[in-house]
Amino acid sequence: MTTIQHADIKRILPHRHPILQIDRVVEFEQDRRIVATKAISGSEPCYAGLDADADHAFPVSLMVESLGQAGGVLWLHSAALSGEQHTGTLIFGSARDIVVTGAAYPGDVLRHVVELESVKGDNAFMRGEVRVDDRPVVTVGSMLAVLRADEDL
């Protein structure tokens, strides 16, 4: 088990506030699996301006982003530990079979479990699940993250 604190996640991912949607890595198995948490707070930008009658479910798009970032940490940190150099910008390439089975609200802590299936050059295939209190809320059958040189963007 390896814990990676929030500040150190910033040495691995280029994302910054407020789109850095991972708080802490609680388990890390190089090249295999990661468990990371993200606490949902009512002070997130997505809750600005919402009154009492609004639906406060945390946006699924941000849950997917958060899960994807956990996968990004798994990939990039594993590569760094192997001494591999990766340059370029991390891009969400594609995903398949995302199923939403629940909702998460301010006060919940999202727990992401992501497995790295394979890496082909600058492309990483992963799958994962977002849980709240061990209840799955979003499952991602497969997703592909890619590194693209800034000139190619």
Binding site: H15, A54, D55, P59, L62, R96, I98
Partner: protein, 128 residues
């Protein structure tokens, strides 16, 4: 009203055949974009999903109905979106006869220069 990361639809047009076209101008000072990324702003792929989702919800949440995302069958991103660009998403929406509360949305997204920036297929559950 519901929580969303940003307003991902600036304008919506409904075609005669029921297709919904949503337009979003990409601006660097939208919420969340400051961190994506500090060295180079690029519209997050998940926000393209938001554009499609918000457009679909607006079209379906009429007369008190609510529409919630139940799944994203597939999403493929192509050319990236940068500030100053315009995202246009053309949505077709179908209800399945076997499960009439489920609406399947297929969206083709492109940039101002016409290049495809993504294809998204998702499903919403509509409750009256």
């Amino acid at each position: 009203m519901y929580a969303s990361p940003l307003s991902a639809v600036d304008k919506t047009e409904i075609g005669a055949d029921g297709t919904v076209t949503a337009i979003k101008d990409i601006v660097a000072d939208d919420p969340y974009l400051a961190g994506h990324y500090p060295h180079f702003t690029i519209y997050p792929g998940v926000f393209t999903i938001e554009t499609v989702l918000q457009a679909a919800r607006a079209a379906l949440e009429v007369d008190g109905a609510t529409a919630h995302l139940v799944g994203i069958t597939s999403v493929h991103f192509k050319a990236p979106l940068l500030p100053g660009d315009r995202l246009t998403a053309d949505l077709t929406m179908d209800r399945s006869t076997e499960a009439p509360s489920i609406v399947r949305v297929k969206a083709k997204c492109h940039r101002a220069d016409g290049q495809s920036c993504g294809r998204i297929t998702l499903a919403l559950r509509v409750r009256p």
